[in-house]
């Protein structure tokens, strides 16, 4: 059940230029959150910014959760000033988690840039609950934007790197790397990153005939399925509505449910 908790900051540090990791103490969130869900952070007290900022759980520990984020605009810039020992109001957990499907043999993550954020928690859950170690394709514009490589190695994941400029790993799109991994029946792809990348991955999976789960982003106001602001167009109707809510029906969707034509 979503709730609002005031959490103490246990750690907050810049992990690569413009990217921060925030660890907050919250047995409640840690106890309830599942990989793929997200929360809404109150950036600072007062009415600016007006809305909370959606962030997924990078990792879910015993009594704390971590968030990995990128400075995108004013909200995240203000957020980065928060210091250890201060408190922050967090609403969550929200949304639908990644599915944990026992019948799947091979799990491949396709992560673009900061889109890697929801994957460490998912890798841990798969290892713990399914006894399966996923493979990870980490893609980014350039080397310094490749995040969490070390974490995945520590969990025993095979990591494939791809950069737009070739500064690390292959100079290729993540979807190309994916195709070259020859994923066959029994494989499921989990993808999070820029819309164009998710679209390309969806198209690749369609061609390969394998299921693809995508974690979408949209501007959010409520995070609770109420305001109808975060919708994307779907290929089907949920509750007689052609639009699906990223916050409530997602953020994780089977890629075939999304109408990718708009992107």
């Amino acid at each position: 059940m979503p709730g609002i908790v005031t959490c103490e900051v246990k750690m907050h540090q810049e992990v690569s230029p413009g990217h921060y990791r925030l660890v907050v103490h919250s047995p409640q969130l840690a106890g309830e959150a599942q990989a793929g869900q997200f929360c809404m952070l109150e950036v600072q007290a007062g009415l600016f910014p007006f809305l909370r900022r959606p962030m997924c759980f990078e990792r879910i520990f015993k009594d704390s959760v971590s968030i990995l984020y990128k400075i995108e605009g004013e909200g995240t810039r203000l957020l980065s000033r928060l210091t250890q020992g201060q408190t922050i109001s967090i609403q969550g957990p929200l949304g639908k988690p990644w599915p944990l499907d026992e019948s799947i043999e091979r799990h491949i993550f396709v992560a673009g840039g900061i889109g890697v954020a929801p994957f460490p928690a998912l890798a841990e859950a798969m290892i713990a609950k399914l006894g399966k170690t996923p493979e990870v394709i980490l893609a980014a514009r350039t080397e310094s934007m490749l995040l969490c490589e070390e974490e995945f190695h520590q969990m025993g994941c095979k990591v494939h790197l791809a950069t737009d400029d070739g500064s690390a790993g292959e100079k290729a799109f993540a979807s190309e790397v994916l195709t070259r991994l020859n994923p066959g029946t029994g494989t499921m792809v989990h993808c999070c990153g820029p819309m164009v990348m998710m679209k390309a991955t969806h198209v690749a999976c369609e061609a390969l005939g394998i299921p693809c789960m995508t974690s979408l982003e949209a501007e959010m106001a409520c995070g609770d399925g109420v305001c109808l602001g975060c919708v994307v167009e779907s290929t089907i109707e949920i509750e007689a509505e052609r639009m699906v809510r990223v916050c409530y029906d997602g953020p994780v969707f089977e890629s075939t449910l999304i109408n990718w034509a708009a992107y």
């Binding site: 009415l47 109420v226 109808l228 602001g229 509505e241």
Partner: protein
């Protein structure tokens, strides 16, 4: 807390145990926020605008944050009256909620039908007609007007049609985009409205300088939130000076102190809108805060404070 305070109000025939409801479209049909607080504690739940058919709304992007507020162009996406009657209203009833059914139609006849069906099925305790949605483009609208609520003649015609269709308390929801809000309000009153809801969002827009494109796919949207509160308080005061029927005030309320501004300006009831997105328990805290305010100020009945601003 000490002595008990009477927070109950009668809003144009609708009995509410306290003056606090929610803004239409900021609370869906009540269910979601029940995980944050017992929604039956509200004086009433106001539903998202309901239309005869389900509506998909506008294309995304549909919302953007603004300084101390937000801009939306949802476009009245809703499940439609049928799904509401079948799935949403029963839940609200089971949970003991008083319901203000907000409706939106493309013509007076559609509004009338919606009101009539809500009453017939016992799925609302009052009707709030949204005549101020930026999507109604009616050929009969007076020069320059884009909303029914901007044209007193249309307000009269729509109100009369709905009035004829229902005996439920009827609230007419007005727009701040007018020169003198007294005109449509008096037209509604004359046509049989039981209360005026004010205000809906202010027509606005935003542009992304990097892409040079409008931020909302609909280009234009409605501004809400604390940013517009001073505008709303002024309009509620304008209304309270001319109307005999009560006012349901809204626009940027975040806490009991904000709510008191509306009540002192002349609102009998208040609605919490966008701020619920930031702080889901806001409406609850307003109820508690109003009780606390009355105790601190030795006021036995909240209704004694309606319009009690000292000029």
């Amino acid at each position: 807390m000490g002595t008990s305070v009477d927070l109950s109000i009668n809003l144009g025939g609708l009995k509410m145990k306290n003056p606090v409801t929610v803004g239409s479209g900021t609370f869906a049909y009540g269910q979601e926020y029940n995980s944050y607080f017992d929604v039956s504690r509200l004086g009433a739940v106001t539903t998202k605008s309901l239309s005869l058919q389900p509506r998909a709304g506008n294309n995304p992007p549909r919302l953007v944050e603004t300084p101390a507020g937000m801009l939306n162009a949802i476009g009245l996406q809703n499940v439609g009256i049928d799904v509401y009657l079948k799935e949403k209203a029963p839940w609200l009833r089971e949970h003991g909620c008083t319901i203000i059914g907000n409706i939106y139609g493309a013509s007076p006849e559609e509004y009338a039908e919606l009101a009539q069906r809500l009453e017939a099925e016992g799925a609302a305790d009052a009707i709030e007609a949204n005549l101020s949605c930026p999507n109604v483009h009616n050929a009969k609208t007076a020069r320059g007007c884009t909303l029914v609520a901007q044209d007193p003649e249309l307000v009269k015609a729509y109100t009369e049609a709905i009035r004829a269709a229902t005996k439920l308390p009827l609230f007419i929801k007005l727009s701040p985009n007018v020169i003198d809000i007294a005109e449509p309000a008096l037209a509604a009153e004359a046509a049989g409205a039981d209360a005026i809801s004010a205000i809906n969002t202010i027509t606005s827009m935003g542009i992304n300088p990097e892409t040079r494109k409008p931020i909302l796919s609909n280009i234009v949207g409605g501004l809400s939130g604390p940013a517009i509160r001073p505008v709303a308080v002024k309009l509620v005061w304008d209304l309270s000076k001319v109307l005999k029927i009560p006012v349901l005030g809204m626009g940027g309320i975040t806490n009991a102190s904000d709510a008191m501004q509306f009540i002192l300006a002349g609102a009998t009831g208040v609605a919490i809108g966008s701020y619920t997105f930031r702080h889901p328990t806001a409406a609850m805290e307003v109820i508690d805060g109003l009780e606390d305010y009355c105790q601190r100020h030795d006021v036995a009945k909240i209704t004694d404070l309606v319009g009690a601003m000292e000029v």
